[in-house]
């Protein structure tokens, strides 16, 4: 490991520890009725939570609604917060449950949408041979948006948190209230489904000579 990447990783770890400690102080103040302290928690975590939720519910505005609802629930239940967990994990747990509920509640409507079949969002600029080294982050989100509906609500939440956001397996398990083995199983199943769909619907992202080469 290079010195530079080691420094980056250490920075990430220290940032995370520092942030968790600050969060606990803010939570303590918020429990005492300090609205400003709670507003600081919203400022810190709403962006990250929104990003994850939007990738699960596939709607930016609805994702903000879920984020607001998650923070209000957190405020109402601050007395139940266990400082053993990080505030972010606890908040993500509330947000993930709300997002899964939302996806489930509109499942039938989404099925009707899917009956239309064709994916309409093509972000690749006309080229069928987009080289992988020019892949933009918006493109990744576009592909995810197209394919994630093929997953169950649980699978897509786990996959987004673990593979896309890069959260730790144990943290995802705490958020979803399931075991580490269940998280791994969801990721495995999601990967299996998505691999087939990427090869079938976005072959331009799979290098030549490898397309369709995976036994499912």
């Amino acid at each position: 490991m290079t010195r530079e990447s080691l420094c980056t990783l250490l920075e990430m770890v220290f940032d995370r520890i520092g942030s968790a400690v600050d969060d606990r102080e803010l939570v303590r103040a918020a429990r005492g009725g300090d609205e400003d302290a709670f507003a600081d928690l919203v400022r810190r975590h709403s962006g990250g939570l929104h990003r994850s939720v939007a990738r699960v519910v596939l709607d930016d505005a609805e994702a903000w609604d879920v984020v607001q609802m998650a923070f209000l629930r957190a405020w109402q239940r601050l007395d139940r917060y266990n400082p053993r967990w990080s505030f972010a994990t606890w908040l993500y747990r509330i947000g993930a449950n709300l997002a899964i509920d939302l996806v489930r509640s509109r499942a039938s409507r989404q099925k009707a949408h899917q009956a239309g079949g064709e994916h309409q969002l093509r972000i690749v600029g006309g080229s069928q041979q987009a080289p992988p080294d020019r892949l933009g982050h918006d493109e990744v989100d576009g592909i995810l948006r197209e394919l994630v509906e093929d997953l169950t609500p649980q699978q897509r939440t786990v996959f987004v948190l673990r593979e896309v956001e890069g959260l730790e397996t144990a943290e995802v398990a705490e958020i979803l209230g399931c075991s580490v083995a269940t998280v791994r199983n969801h990721v495995f199943q999601a990967r299996k489904t998505l691999r087939r769909e990427v090869e079938h619907r976005f072959p331009e992202y799979v290098p030549e000579g490898h397309r369709g080469g995976h036994e499912l």
Binding site: M1, T2, L9, E35, V42, S46, W75, V140, V164, P207
Partner: protein, 181 residues
């Protein structure tokens, strides 16, 4: 760490057997190294999703969220305040006072029944006088009462309006001044 080492880590990454530090390092390298990325995508196309880097949200959107959450909290607090009066003894005292007044009134009424009946009739007459007949024979009603009470200690303001042309029905608005536009 060399590209070769990262490529050897691929199987462990997919098995979820890498420790979290090495896993984060692998993901970071995949974003920065085009040849390793091509190699990894050829092996496992779903690694494309590991390339979605975190993006900072728009500050204005975050502030809008803060405002919405804070307003929700204040609304929740107000609702709780109204549900649970802060001075329940006041309500009890008012109930006792009303009971005493009722008993006193009954005692006075039974003692001087004639005077009392006449007085009540007068009051009813006054109320009826408020509704006077116009020349066309339609009833003209006085403008409805409008009451504004600033309950500073309760941190709320109460507005009471009578419904138009109906002085027996009222509408009460209880407003938290902090949330008024």
């Amino acid at each position: 760490m060399s590209c070769e080492t990262y490529r050897e880590m691929l199987a462990a990454y997919l098995d979820d057997s890498l420790d979290e530090v090495r896993r984060a390092s692998f993901r970071a390298h995949l974003r920065s190294c085009a040849s390793c990325r091509a190699f990894a995508l050829a092996e496992e196309p779903t690694l494309i999703f590991a390339l979605a880097a975190p993006r900072e949200p728009e500050p204005a959107r975050v502030e809008a969220c803060v405002t919405a959450v804070t307003a929700g909290i204040r609304q929740e607090r107000l609702r709780r305040q109204l549900r649970e009066p802060r001075r329940p003894w006041l309500a009890a005292a008012a109930a006792v006072l009303m009971a005493v007044a009722g008993v006193g009134g009954w005692w006075l009424g039974s003692d001087r029944a004639g005077v009392s009946t006449a007085y009540q009739a007068e009051v009813r007459d006054d109320a009826e006088v408020e509704a006077t007949l116009t020349r066309e024979g339609t009833v003209e009603i006085e403008p409805p009462p409008r009451i504004e009470i600033d309950m500073a200690q309760e941190e709320v303001r109460v507005y009471q309006y009578a419904i138009e042309n109906d002085d027996s029905t009222g509408a009460v608005f209880i407003v938290n001044p902090g949330m008024e536009l």
